[in-house]
Amino acid sequence: MDAGFLLVQSLSGLASASSLFIIASGLTLVFGVTRIVNFAHGSFYMLGAYMAVTVVPWLLEIERSPWLFFVGVLISAAVVGLLGVAMELLLLRRIYKVPELFQLLATFGVVLMVQDAVLKIWGPVDITGPRAPGLRHGVEIMGQRFPAYELFLICAGPAVLGALWLLMHRTRFGVLIRAATRDREMVGALGVNQAMLFTGTLFLGAFLAGLGGALQIPRVSASAQMDLSIITEVFVVTVIGGMGSVTGAFLAAVLIGQLQAFGVLVFPKITLVLVFLLMAVVLVVKPWGLLGKPEPAAGRATLPEGILHPRGFALPEKLLAALAVAAALAVPVFGDAYAVKVATEVLVFALAAFSLHFLVGNGGIVSFGHAAYFGLGAYASGLLVVRLGVPMEPALLVAPVAGAAFAFLFGFFVVRLSGIYLAMLTLAFAQIAYAVCFQWVEVTGGDNGLVGVWPSAWATSRHVYHYIVAAGAIAGIVALRHVIYAPFGATLRAARDSAPRADAIGIDVRTHQLLGFTMAGGAAGLAGGLYAFSKGSIDPTMLAIPMSVDFLAMILLGGIQTVMGAVVGAGAFHAIKDIFMPLTDYWRFLLGASIIALVLLFPRGLGGAFASVRARVAAEPARA
């Protein structure tokens, strides 16, 4: 390899680092001040690109001048900034004090709504943007041609860093933002209206995301998938850099840009894995990222957001549970093929959601990437069947083993962190798994996935297979439920309620959390294996972010404080999706709106509603 080639490779790494930094700086600023990790930041980026492919050509109609190109880019970013203001006023303002899980879900609700809004406004076809006048040529660098626009991007990143530095150090607004990043309360005590400060910060953050998107239009066409593909990368940059640190984000972006540019030469298949590996290593060595600072101590003990006192079933609940099991078993007898299909899926999701609830609700470990273990279980079974011709029975047994094994591997790093960093790391690991399944085409079939994952001959009938799923799912749920009541489950709750106290009575918190993580991964893997054979095919969406969010929405809908809420939530969620999806083209919009409504209006879910009804009934005789 000659020096010119390496230089160009490095320059293209810097160009992508620049773009990544511009977007990530907005996310990290917003997090620093509001302490919310905004999933919708990726949506702002996408909206920036869509605005630009609309506005810029219109401006270039007037005159093909480079200046008008950049005016269009800035207009697009400003419009997105205003959308950020709207989001702050309408949503974020109401969720500053709710637990992180709810914040993440609510902002993901916005992601879903924006996706459908974009499809409605701009249609499903990707839109190619105009190239920047005056920057369309290539530049000769040591014998290699390098696009001029990329050179411009390389300068744009440091320019934004410089502009942000000036804003942060030379204006009152910037000084207030920096002060609030360290100590919001004290800023308030000095007479600064935090509400205004937060709104302003959201404008700035969304503006930067929009700017990042608008600057991309000569390189990539605007598409409705841009949001989620960028958001994970941006999360990784901000987490590695240290959440809240703009300079840290810049360092991390450059590091990642170079890692990708040269990683591609050495390990062309697994560049993404390298990036996530870098993140895992950084977090284990520096749990708050390169330039991040520890969160100020949470202070006083509060009631955990999860399963409170797990009571055994009283008579009405026993009856309900028996009825539910009976109904699940009776579907093949009375229902049609469609009903059986739906019932099978509900059982699978009930197990998957329950395994996540075991982690989140019982253990306080907010995993944002639980679909990884579900999907890896499915792929393990599917690969054995399709590639090695192994029959269903042993393949199905491997699914939970694979789920547990990967959960153990990833969990080793995960349990070292807490709070938002933990959630981000689980998400990152899920994205590694997703990327591998997506990119390793020879083995996994890539985007198309695997087909022909069929059950053994005796189990091919939908009805018979339904009973296999019922047996697996019910056994899994019953077993995990039992663990919740066992000393191990109680120990996980103890560690969640108060880690210092657990430590002081002799509990090794990390080891127990790792074992719990592994168990939940195993159950999710089993659910994935069962799902694979019921569909006959597997594809990477099984371990994508929306699947993880579906599981979280299920446990939220069911009620995070009740033991069996996740099972009820899985049924209800699947039913709602099944009923509404065919009725409308905008089911994502509806789903997003429902998640937000759930967080804002109904944070205890169906289980919470049931509990309060029961409490009222129980109180009735007392009053009489």
């Binding site: 663990v483 009541y485 066992a486 120990t491 709750r493 103890a494 210092p500 002799g506 509990i507």
Partner: protein, 260 residues
């Protein structure tokens, strides 16, 4: 017999000396209070004994065994119970379950998957709660209790490991005035009866002078006095630490005169 011995403990945070050659000994059945102004190194000393902090140098011996730098869970297993300045309990559990959890952990049964946690060590837990006068509240959620009662339950949790040594960080902080004396009396009674050594930090001087057998006074990380409550009360240097130096006093007076 010496139960706990701290030998030449040193700890720095950056350039700040938090503990300088701190040494003391504590016998079984004895109550030793650490007092001193804020930032004197009380918590640092305390946390070096409890395993939350590792001293830069020096050793902590529990009944002759070196426990320097062991993590808190190991320290606990060697017979050290602890209560916190702000009570740390398992808020989602009932009073009895909190104590049962400690008993389960003490028995090393936290990884069991089959038995039901609720049914384990119930009688022992209620008996421990009886010791601290909380048996009647065994089945109430701990979050419902008055703070003084939570502190009592925390004491029962600490006793679950049949400790030889109790570490109590400001045991009466945050309690209503009349609850304080009764908690300290209770602790002293249990300690003497069962031969448990108690090391505690405290800001409430009533609690210290009424219940400590000996008092250790820390200032800027150094032990400036040690002795019985009478000796410490009579110590001129200790008085000065709380009242300020005479020269300092004069200087302040002079400043005021200049402004009138």
């Amino acid at each position: 017999m010496t139960l706990l011995a701290a030998a030449g403990l040193n700890k720095r945070f950056g350039g700040v000396v938090a503990a300088k050659d701190v040494r003391f000994a504590l016998n079984a059945g004895e109550m030793l209070a650490i007092i001193g102004p804020n930032g004197a190194g009380k918590s640092t000393t305390f946390n070096m004994v409890g395993g939350q902090l590792r001293p830069d140098s020096g050793r902590v011996l529990l009944a002759g065994q070196d426990i320097t730098g062991l993590p808190p869970r190991e320290v606990c297993r060697l017979g050290v119970g602890r209560t916190f300045q702000v009570a740390q309990t398992f808020l989602s559990m009932t009073v009895a379950q909190n104590v049962q959890m400690a008993l389960i952990a003490h028995a090393g049964r936290t990884r069991e998957l089959v038995s039901r946690a609720e049914a384990l060590y119930r009688a022992q837990a209620v008996a421990l709660l009886g010791k601290v006068g909380m048996a009647a509240d065994a089945d109430r959620p701990i979050g419902e209790l008055a703070y003084g009662d939570v502190k009592r339950v925390e004491l029962a949790i600490a006793l679950a490991a049949s400790p030889r040594l109790l570490l109590m960080d400001e045991p009466t902080a945050g309690m209503a005035p009349r609850e304080r004396a009764s908690l300290m009396q209770l602790t002293a009674g249990i300690a003497r009866e069962e031969g448990i050594g108690v090391l505690f930090t405290e800001h409430d001087m009533d609690a210290v002078f009424a219940h400590a057998d000996r008092i250790l006074v820390l200032v800027r990380g150094e032990v400036i006095a040690e002795g019985t409550p009478e000796e410490v009360r009579a110590n001129e240097q200790v008085k000065r630490v709380y009242l300020g130096t005479t020269g300092h006093k004069a200087a302040l007076r002079a400043r005021r005169a200049a402004h009138v």
